[in-house]
């Protein structure tokens, strides 16, 4: 059997339709086993394709035999492939973590795992597709599953958070649809490579309009200020592993779409400055808001928004070092923030308020989970032996090369703020006085395995950053080299 990028999308879609039947007629347990098998298969596909891509360059897959400008195609380049692999690995670990997740009865568990699988699939689709309208469709698949997962718990305020997310998300989808429509009237094509090739034919005013519509639409998914009102509520009301999935998967897809539009479709220089300013404002406001939070998950959510701002800054600087740094940041954020959400949701397992003060003294009761949380906290603020340090170093080096001293000052100042609020949590864990007696929940074995894998990744990448930077290097080259993207997509399909 030939492995191709289509498997990322076709297999989960087929599985999503058959799972309800399988679980009804064969065995109930299949509802949560099959999504895991599918996600594991995606990981396998990633490994095979990443090996192929390092030899071939770009894999462009045409669907249903229609060649590139006319049909829909999937592009597995070092850049999109890296993100797709990251998403499938994190998606699988999240499945493993939530395999026997709390309070999910059999009936609900069935929906939960299908939705989680579809969310990963939608995000991978966003990253792989080469067609702008197809990107919109995958964005909606991701968004609809995200709305339903946000409101998964009936007893929490999930419905409110979900409805808020839905309102903002629908607004985003209208903006994206309008932008796609204007692009189509101007250029008569929906293929991203062809749009990139022809985009200089558009008048600047229309180009700017389309760009603004796209920035609003994708900025909402990428949690860019001031479009991120949905994020703190969605993160805090959704089930714990879904918070990890938002941070590790959904937001990454939004950032990818934003970057693809700015770097490949339109090469307007002002857009890079816009990324820097937008990212800076997002980062400063979110990190300051994080200090004021008393709820652990809300704090993690604001921290996640801040990190995304940092990623946007790194992309905005636009040099190769900066883009390697940005990809490294995305990788780190996916790994570390998932770990923080996973361990955090065991730490606040039986507390009703989910307040940080409720964590007091848990360091002795849940030693391994607490150590993992502490590891994540140290890594995300960028302490040297862990992976977070290298990504920050890359971005700061790139900023220093461009003489952006104010930017460096801002990033370092924000790092101090990060240290304040993360270390506050860690010190509460170990030195805090316990106020109320809370029964702790011991993590199940599969959750422990998935957290330990993430924790080990942080340490291994921190000690040997070279094992991942090679991938980032070729991915950054691919992103900056617009011509080779166009060529790879449009010529491969002629024969």
């Amino acid at each position: 059997m030939v492995i191709s990028p289509v498997h990322y999308i076709a297999v989960p879609l087929l599985a999503a339709f058959t799972i309800p039947l399988l679980s009804k007629y064969i065995h109930k347990e299949l509802a949560r086993i099959v999504p895991g098998i599918v996600l594991l298969y995606s990981v396998f596909v990633s490994i095979v394709l990443m090996m192929q891509v390092s030899e071939v360059g770009v894999i462009s897959e045409k669907i249903a035999g229609w060649s590139a400008p006319w049909g829909i195609n999937l592009v597995f380049s070092p850049f999109s492939g890296f993100l797709a692999s990251l998403m499938s690995v994190v998606g699988f670990l999240i499945w493993l973590y939530s395999y026997n997740f709390k309070k999910i009865e059999q009936e609900q568990s069935q929906k939960y795992h299908i939705l989680q699988m579809m969310m990963v699939t939608g995000a991978i689709g966003i990253v792989l597709t080469g067609d702008i309208f197809n990107l919109f469709v995958f964005m909606e698949i991701t968004a609809i599953t995200a709305y339903s997962l946000t409101s998964f718990y009936r007893e929490r305020d999930g419905a409110e958070a979900g409805f808020k997310y839905l309102l903002i998300g629908s607004f985003a989808s209208v903006m994206i649809l309008l932008a796609v429509m204007i692009l189509y009237t101007q250029l008569g094509t929906l293929n991203m490579a062809e749009i990139a090739q022809k985009s200089h034919l558009m008048p600047t005013s229309i180009k700017a309009t389309v760009l603004v519509l796209f920035l609003i639409g994708f900025g909402i998914e990428a949690e860019m200020f001031p479009l991120n009102g949905w994020a703190p509520d969605a993160y805090s009301q959704a089930p714990g592993p879904i918070g990890a999935a938002f941070a590790g998967i959904v937001v990454k897809a939004g950032v990818y779409a934003l970057i693809r539009v700015i770097f490949t479709l339109f090469d307007i220089h002002g857009a890079y400055d816009f990324l820097i300013y937008g990212g800076l404002i997002t980062m400063i406001i979110a990190e300051t808001a994080a200090v004021a939070q008393t709820n652990l998950k809300r704090m993690l959510a604001y921290s996640s928004i801040g990190q995304m701002g940092f990623v946007l800054i790194a992309f905005g600087i636009g040099t190769k070092t900066a883009i390697v740094g940005a990809l490294f940041l995305m990788f780190n954020h996916a790994v570390i923030k998932s770990l923080l959400f996973m361990s955090g949701s065991y730490l606040t397992y039986n507390s009703v308020s989910k307040k940080i003060s409720a964590l007091a003294g848990l360091g002795k009761k849940l030693p391994i989970v607490s150590i993992l949380f502490g590891l994540g906290a140290f890594a995300i603020v960028g302490l040297p032996p862990f992976s977070g340090f290298w990504s920050k170093l890359y971005v700061l080096t790139a900023a220093a090369d461009q003489n952006m001293l104010l930017l460096i000052m801002a990033i370092l100042a924000v790092s101090v703020i990060e240290i304040i609020y993360y270390f506050r949590v860690v010190s509460t864990l170990y030195y805090g006085k316990q106020e109320e007696e809370i029964e702790v929940q011991k993590p199940s074995i599969n959750a422990m395995v998935s957290m330990l894998v993430l924790g080990a990744t942080i340490i291994v990448v921190g000690v040997y950053p070279d094992i991942v930077t090679n991938f980032f290097d070729s991915a950054a080259d691919m992103l900056l080299d617009k011509a080779s993207y166009i060529q790879a997509v449009l010529t491969q399909n002629i024969n």
């Binding site: 909606e140 629908s170 209208v174 429509m181």
Partner: protein
């Protein structure tokens, strides 16, 4: 023929105008109305406006259906562009799914808070 041209341009303006009017009406409902159901209706109206706009741009005056038939191979100039219509079909299905999710969330909210007015649901900070 003159009449036909004039008639056509009125139709075109009418279609574009009503599409934009629909989008604005929908935005008004989403932003101003306090009732959750009305907000969902507003979302659907915005969607409808965008879809109408989408179909309108693919239209050609006096165009024919985009089917090649023997003897009419050079008819491509007069064909209505089928791509926007295909896109709109997809967008309608997506809009339907979003509306369904939105309505189910409204039901959930109503059961949880015993009201469907957005200004009375304030357990989360906005």
């Amino acid at each position: 023929m003159q009449d036909f041209e004039q008639y056509n341009s009125i139709i075109t303006t009418g279609v574009y105008g009503s599409a934009i009017a629909l989008i604005l009406i929908g935005l008004y409902a989403v932003l101003i109305k306090k009732h959750l159901i009305k907000i969902v209706i507003g979302l659907s109206i915005i969607d409808a406006g965008v879809h109408l706009l989408f179909v309108a741009i693919g239209y050609i005056k006096g165009g024919t259906a985009p089917i090649f038939s023997p003897g009419n191979e050079d008819a491509a100039q007069q064909m209505v562009d089928p791509v926007p219509q295909a896109l709109v079909l997809t967008a309608i299905v997506i809009g339907f799914a979003v509306t369904a999710v939105a309505l189910s969330l409204v039901i959930r909210l109503y059961k949880h808070h015993n009201t469907a007015r957005i200004d009375q649901i304030k357990s989360l900070k906005w």
